[in-house]
Symmetry: C2
Subunit: 391 residues, 2 copies
Amino acid sequence: MTRAPSPLRSWSSAGGLRTITFGPDQPLQFSNGEKLSGLTIGYETYGELAADKSNAVLVCHALTGDQYVASSNPVTGRPAWWPRIVGPGKPIDTNRFFVICANVLGGCMGTSGPASFHEDGRPWGLRFPVFTVPDMVRAQAMLVEALGIEELFCVIGGSIGGMQALQWAAAYPRRVFACCPIATAARHSAQNIAFYEVGRQAIMADPDWRGGDYLAEGVRPSKGLAVARMAAHITYLSESALHRKFDRALQARDKISFGFDADFQVESYLRHQGQSFVDRFDANSYLYITRAVDYFDLAGDFGGALPHAFADSQTKFCAFSFSSDWHYPPEGAKHIVRALIAAGAEASYVEIDTDKGHDAFLLEEPAFEHALAGFIDSAASARGLPAGVRR
Amino acid sequence: MTRAPSPLRSWSSAGGLRTITFGPDQPLQFSNGEKLSGLTIGYETYGELAADKSNAVLVCHALTGDQYVASSNPVTGRPAWWPRIVGPGKPIDTNRFFVICANVLGGCMGTSGPASFHEDGRPWGLRFPVFTVPDMVRAQAMLVEALGIEELFCVIGGSIGGMQALQWAAAYPRRVFACCPIATAARHSAQNIAFYEVGRQAIMADPDWRGGDYLAEGVRPSKGLAVARMAAHITYLSESALHRKFDRALQARDKISFGFDADFQVESYLRHQGQSFVDRFDANSYLYITRAVDYFDLAGDFGGALPHAFADSQTKFCAFSFSSDWHYPPEGAKHIVRALIAAGAEASYVEIDTDKGHDAFLLEEPAFEHALAGFIDSAASARGLPAGVRR
């Protein structure tokens, strides 16, 4: 069923940022019971939607990502974040597929969240409803419906994008032909909650956070947000990758300074990660999205048994993990795949041997790219889509 | 050679805190070239020193520990931190051994550091010389000499206490009969530097840090220090221990709050760890001690080859590691033991299988206690000390 466009839905591409805003007839329903009228979603698309609308791929981005999966961000100028995976002749071939990527709910790149404006003219701040991964996916589903797409050929994402992909398959089993959860888990672990809590406390400890009202007061908790980013960033790299990249190499000096400057390259690198992050990300968005991920426990939403989340699923799954990923270790992916098999779903599992840690899915990993391309091609063939030309 | 007490050395036990203060004839020489006149060391002892001074054991405490290894701290009221290891009938039996534990250089429990007073009447703050692990050990050696002890029967410590034990054996090979480095490494890794840097940035981001002058201004960077402690604390526990202790259990509630309170027990636990820490520890001390540990690279001080640090060593070593310790993983202990063997030293290695992570050395680990007791007894026998009675 393709719905006619709502008269109360508006599309915009101001400043190069494409958005859709839903009218009051289509509020977003949150898990906590609240509703949001006037939901705006920032998104980008690549390629052409087939006449029968059979070739749509939804890419779900990670915690601090954006919708610019295959093109540079017009606001920040940052390059495409997944250029090895999405593009002409790439595993997700934009010559074959219509690729959609939406800024996640609360994600501060065009989609409604704590940094956007309440109808009272002030930023939402902490008044924005605390949302969940299911809420993120519900918002994405509204966009997909508005684009007239009934069934997605594939939903794919890494890290918390992978959680969204799993949630899509669980919530809308008839609307997801294929699903690729990558470097992710069906539930956030105690250790991961702990790391996110450190980040949140760092933000909230910054006096410029102002109880979340910093935007209205014209300040930003940049120092706290930078510390949060630094702590999280360590979890994205493996110990061996840090050793290989930095070991104990000194930064632009021959010997230690006996002081608190960034003597070591790894310190300089981390400080840079923190500083460059605060220029492009909102601190309250960080609080909200990490909270949604803390709350993610897919089995918990299905009576405590993960296979129930995939009962009668017709979706073809391929889960990917990376051997040195300690943020979302391979064991979490195997847990998902065991549940899929228990549910009778069609599931493949690929574990990539790498020392690059969690971030491996964003980096050059030819084995990952080959395996993903193989799965996409196989699923496209099963869906009856025309073959593409790999570059 | 036992030196006569210096007329310019003073001993004190004010407020239950035992200290020794060295006179201007005995400045502490720092690795960075500076000297400190009037060094004070807070320390505690247990048991009786034998007439021939053959039974002294030096315990080196960890990053945020203190000298109260076997008795409660008279300042904080906290209980002894190693009661299963040090005490009557324990592996380090205070009925047999004279146990010394000194607050580490910069450690804010009686020993000189950034929180103690400069002769100008103001706290040292960042004017205190940035010190190293060798400097910590040099200060301890001054205390040991002042106590009239030429050779220590054993130097033992966990975590950065283990680094000090290694440094003792390397710097003073004829003054250490036996040495137990526990849950430690001969060099701080890039990942560990990264975690410490996050903690330092959290402290320095707190406006109450005041460029290190907070004590003079009557404030304390409590929020930043709490965040630093929280980040570090995660590294002290294994992922599986966090899972076993907390998993995703909620704190005093039936369901999630859709907010930023400590919904999860692991959050509540971490917040408590942060809050209780700031009551007992100085933020600048944290900066200085973590920096000393970042700088620790024992091989680097011996021409880049760790075996050189132990050339001609007569010391009996037993290194311990814990299987789930990812802060100082077993591989680091094996690296030490391989170097000891390459140097021709007498070395044993015990790896304890546990899920408790780095903190295991402080917790109930009967296999660790048995193995340690066996090593101590064997070394005591080799040293010709009378046998003890194990309880």
